[in-house]
């Protein structure tokens, strides 16, 4: 059966272009990168390709042998290209859903829902950007580098990994003109202490006016602290178990500071990108 990338057509609200859509995509390739990670490239219809860096999709994963992922799985957009009609995800094989994704072969169909959530912002007053990420978080931040290049911002990307050869997307960041610094556990350059020194040095070298990070509670706390000290704002992409992915079920809440209060926000709707200062690690 040939898969034709299409949206599942439903009556749209009069005069409204749906913000997200459920679409049937076709697998172009699904190749291993770096051992535990895989890069999934899809042919996708235009309706789902008006994406912003930091947004995500909910993927309806196929069932691997003997396992039954039922809920969709959230995945950050790693790449999107409306002209080529392509969409990319970089994922780590961890459980039933991602094991299901790993079974996808070229020409297979994949039902995706998106783009979802609020992406990163990059207002005019943020010219010198510093990005700090580790592991699969680098997937989430990759499209940010392209955005920075398009907007003519300067970007320093600190990529943390267990071993230097496991740091992902380094070439991709470089291709978008970012200065890349790889830190890793092997030589202890990835400890919070070492990172603090490194980031303080970057701040000293040139005025950094925004941080971008994701996932790791340790990195978030580090940037909250440095940011508060220097008055540098920033954004973090958060994760939480999800069911609907579009804001209906309230499964995906996390706690955030809102002035003096602690409030719940939905990672899928108000997020996944939040101000670093409001996030609770």
């Amino acid at each position: 059966m040939t898969v034709h990338p299409t949206v599942l057509s439903v009556p749209a609200p009069p005069g409204v272009i749906p913000r997200c859509a459920e679409a049937r995509t076709r697998v172009v390739s699904n190749t291993p990168v770096n051992g535990e990670y895989r890069l999934l490239t899809l042919d996708a219809p235009a309706e789902v390709l008006a994406c912003h860096p930091g947004q995500f999709f909910q993927l309806l994963c196929p069932e691997p042998d003997g396992e039954h992922p039922f809920l969709r799985r959230p995945m950050s957009i790693y790449g999107y290209d409306a002209d080529a009609g392509q969409l990319q995800f970089l994922y780590k094989v961890t459980g039933a859903g991602t094991r299901g994704l790993a079974t996808l072969k070229p020409d297979d169909g994949l039902n995706v829902l998106g783009p979802l959530g609020q992406g990163f912002t990059m207002p005019e007053n943020r010219q010198n950007l510093l990005l700090l990420a580790r592991g699969v978080g680098l997937a989430t931040l990759a499209p940010l580098a392209r955005m920075a290049q398009r907007k003519g911002r300067s970007l320093t990307a600190i990529c943390s990994a267990r071993r230097p050869e496991l740091a992902m997307s380094v070439d991709l960041f470089r291709s978008y003109g970012a200065e890349v610094i790889v830190v890793h556990d092997a030589d202890e350059s990835a400890t919070p202490e070492a990172l603090r020194i490194l980031i303080e040095a970057q701040i000293a070298k040139r005025r950094i006016d925004a941080f971008y990070t994701c996932g790791s509670a340790r990195l978030l706390r580090l940037l909250q602290d440095i940011g508060a000290r220097h008055g540098i704002p920033g954004e973090v992409a958060m994760e939480q178990q999800m069911a609907c992915g579009i804001g209906m079920c309230q499964a995906c809440v996390r706690s955030f500071h809102d002035g003096d209060q602690v409030v719940h926000r939905r990672v899928c709707r108000e997020g996944p990108v939040f101000p670093i200062s409001e996030a609770i690690a």
């Binding site: 599942l8 439903v10 178990q241």
Partner: protein, 314 residues
Amino acid sequence: MKDIPHPPVCDMGVQIGGLRLANPIMPASGTFSEDLSDVFDLDILGAHVLKTIMRDARAGNPTPRVCDLQGGMLNAIGIPSKGIDDFRDRMLPYWAGYKAPLIVSISAHTVDEFAQLCREVTLPGVAAIEANISCPNIEADGRAFAMRPDTTEQVVQRLRAETDLPLWAKLTPNTGEPVDVALAAEAAGADALVVANTALGMSIDVTTRQPRLGNIMGGISGPAIKPIALRMTYQIARACRIPVIGCGGIATRDDALEFMIAGARAVQVGTATFQSPTVMARLVAELSEWASAEGLTSIEEIIGSVGTPRGDMS
């Protein structure tokens, strides 16, 4: 008639007590919100059923609040609620922008609280009140009013006294006497019964040996509970005179038909929307196509049309 370009051959409208719905498809409480308007025009639905509200603002349960099951999911969201003021001041005006009737789901810990909330949501723009007397995620060990006929009768009677709006009672599969509970709700003055809420379940991660939900136990929804909800629909529709609205695991046209043939006058779709947010829009279209192809003049013709099995041995 005027804004429907291709008038369907079969009348898809169904009567639920005093309320006429344009078609039998509506969302289940807690699996629907204005956010779905990103995906399709919500006015094609037979009704809009909102997430249960409680009187006071509440945080809900600890995370993780959901997990996967084979053929379904487990949730212990726990009814986070912004409270009655938010409902009146923000939600009600928003939903007033739609034509589909608005069904407001309410719950409470005590009969008194329940009655007060019922009075407070009896407002213009509300088409009916759905009393969630069956949520397993509020009280310890999943307890709920609808587990017993006496507590059901008590609470429904009080709610009945507080509102002139159509009153729907949402029942639970977590009882050994679903028909007695249904009869109690009917006797107490309910106008319709929603059959049913989630079944109480649990899941453990064997690697960490921890429950997969922050709340330990939660409600099972999705295809796994369909045969239970269908059985209850059949039992209750035979025993009661008020309309039954089927709910539990409905994901396809045939699922919706199965409940209607068993005796449901309409159906609610919950978890299926998480797997496919467009599913209700497709169900509305497919059901109407099917009914016309079958040559029905009204979809109500199939309600309760279940036959008796041949029941032979050979």
